[in-house]
């Protein structure tokens, strides 16, 4: 494989990790949703590039699904949901920003150490993409853990799923059926989550999940 193809793949996958950090940094909901759309767009490019260098045409379909569903439909739907929820649009965090970022760097380092050991001897491009994918997944989880706002937890979940798609595209040979069913299940998850969001808002007048903890009588 020539150097430039590798560099572009490396660049796009690294861009995904960078946008995960951008997601962690955002403190406004709409900016968060825009950053999420950007991540999905980058993912679409990354998958399309993988399709090009692996000469696997079905990955183009994956890239198309990513582009339409995750870069357009889901962000627009979340935008409208947030606008209709009428909650205040700042993201409350459990832990303050700088420790979260440092934790995120620790997670990226961890996923690189783990993935590079585990995938010893595989194709360098696959190894690298897998390491990046694991970091995106872990950063998505970190985002879900450190946020109390339900909408930003949803975004964390969706970005976690972006990491999974990247891993699948790099690993050569995830069948298209699985791909499409994952995409649809994410869409259904979005609908379910949307309904839940409105229920939570109706009940507690906010989408801050700490209200749920208080309601259950758990004290922190």
């Amino acid at each position: 494989m020539d150097r430039l193809a590798f560099d572009i793949a490396h660049f796009l996958a690294g861009g995904l990790v960078l946008i995960s950090f951008v997601l962690l940094y955002q403190d406004r909901l709409f900016a968060l949703l825009n950053a999420y759309a950007l991540q999905a767009l980058t993912l679409a490019f990354a998958v399309a590039w993988q399709a090009h260098i692996q000469e696997a045409p079905h990955l183009y379909i994956t890239a198309g699904i990513t582009l339409v569903f995750k870069a357009l439909i889901i962000p627009v739907a979340l935008h409208r949901m947030v606008a209709r929820l009428g909650v205040h649009r700042e993201v409350e965090t459990v832990v303050s920003l700088v420790p979260t970022m440092l934790g995120g760097i620790g997670l990226v380092a961890l996923s690189m150490v783990v993935m590079l050991r585990v995938t010893h001897g595989a194709d360098p491009l696959t190894r690298e993409d897998l390491a990046f994918a694991l970091s995106v997944v872990l950063l998505g989880m970190l985002m879900m853990v450190t946020r109390t706002n339900a909408v930003s937890q949803v975004v964390g979940f969706m970005s976690l799923e972006n990491g999974l798609i990247l891993a699948a595209a790099a690993a050569k040979g995830m069948p298209l059926v699985v791909e499409i069913s994952v995409a649809f299940s994410v869409l259904i998850a979005l609908i379910v989550i949307g309904i839940f969001l409105f229920r939570i808002r109706e009940r507690f007048d906010s989408v801050d999940l700490q209200a749920l903890d208080d309601f259950r009588g758990e004290h922190r």
């Binding site: 572009i8 490396h10 990790v17 920003l97 380092a109 690298e128 390491a131």
Partner: protein, 315 residues
């Protein structure tokens, strides 16, 4: 030797004379974006000349440091500006154009500025100095981290080698992109541009840089103004040299290559000034206590760049 000396001289004069023009250009673009007419492009030169002619007023409590600081700051910044390759890499002093040396020069300029801010003993000066130092304690590690990652990739901290490495051998690297974003954040912070500090206001709650130089007047103020304009051009040239070295005339190139390098440098300055003006008109100033978060991002990017570089090496 003679050729290198002449290139070095041209470079020193070029940065000195284009620094106010860059500031004027940014102000003009910002004004146009706000649909105002704005001051003419040459206004910063006129301001400097006017200030240089005016009488100097020094507070009674000022020590010798207060008088010496503007010249020290100007000298350190000008030397730093002379070391960064702008249009050609074949500079006489390129053996000493080390990234760490440039950071040290800028750091000592900041040190004297902070001392001068506290020297007179007014509350504003002290406030500005303490804020400046707070930002500096975060921005400098970030800058050093970014320099480390660039140096690890290029295998050297010498700017002319870094530039030729990026131009011919680097390809497209994530670490370099992360370093670029980090360095832009550091540059915005260090030059007291908008999300961190507003260069056009004297509102006491927010000012940082202006608070330190509030006591200066006359030619001292002209020196300080000129050195802050020079600092902006140092950072722009640094970013252009490390990340966008295309067009730089290599060592021993002919006259045409140097003219081309000149044109490329002018283009880079205009692009950087335009983007900075656009960025400044679209974002709001941050609260002072949010600035550490902003600079922390640069530090994080530097760490991440170093990490990714190790990873792509180990494949």
């Amino acid at each position: 030797m003679l050729e290198q000396l002449s290139i070095q001289m041209v470079q020193m004069l070029l940065v000195l004379f284009s620094a106010p023009l860059l500031t004027g250009f940014i102000r003009k673009v910002k004004a146009r974006l706000l649909r105002k007419r704005g001051p003419p492009l040459l206004q910063p030169y006129r301001d400097l000349i006017k200030l240089a002619r005016k009488e100097v007023v020094v507070a009674d409590s000022a020590s010798w440091l207060f008088r010496a600081a503007p010249y020290l700051i100007f000298a350190a910044t000008w030397v730093a500006a002379a070391l960064v390759p702008t249009f050609a890499t074949g500079l006489l002093f390129s053996w000493s154009a080390d990234l760490i040396a440039i950071i040290a020069l800028l750091g000592s300029a900041r040190f004297f500025l902070a001392l001068a801010g506290m020297d007179v003993g007014t509350s504003f000066g002290g406030l500005g100095s303490s804020r400046e130092m707070m930002f500096a304690t975060l921005a400098e590690p970030a800058l050093i981290m970014i320099v480390f990652s660039v140096a690890l990739i290029a295998g050297t901290t010498q700017l002319s080698y870094v530039a030729s490495f990026v131009m011919y051998a680097a390809g497209l690297r994530v670490s370099l992109v992360l370093g670029l974003v980090g360095l832009v954040i550091v540059a915005i912070t260090e030059n007291a541009r908008i999300p961190v500090d507003n260069p056009a206001t004297h509102l006491e709650l927010t000012m940082v840089h202006e608070a330190m130089v509030l006591e200066y007047s006359g030619r001292h103020l002209a020196m300080i103004e000129l050195s802050s304009q020079l600092k902006l051009i140092v950072y722009v040239s640094l970013i252009a040299c490390i990340f966008f070295p295309w067009g730089l005339a290599p060592v021993g190139a002919g006259f045409n290559a140097h003219v081309l390098g000149f044109a490329a440098y002018a283009g880079k300055l205009a692009a950087a000034g335009g983007m900075l003006a656009l960025f400044e008109t679209t974002v709001a100033k941050m609260r002072v206590f949010r600035v550490p978060d902003f600079i922390g991002v640069a530090l994080m990017l530097g760490l991440l760049a170093t990490l990714l570089r190790f990873m792509s090496e180990s494949l």
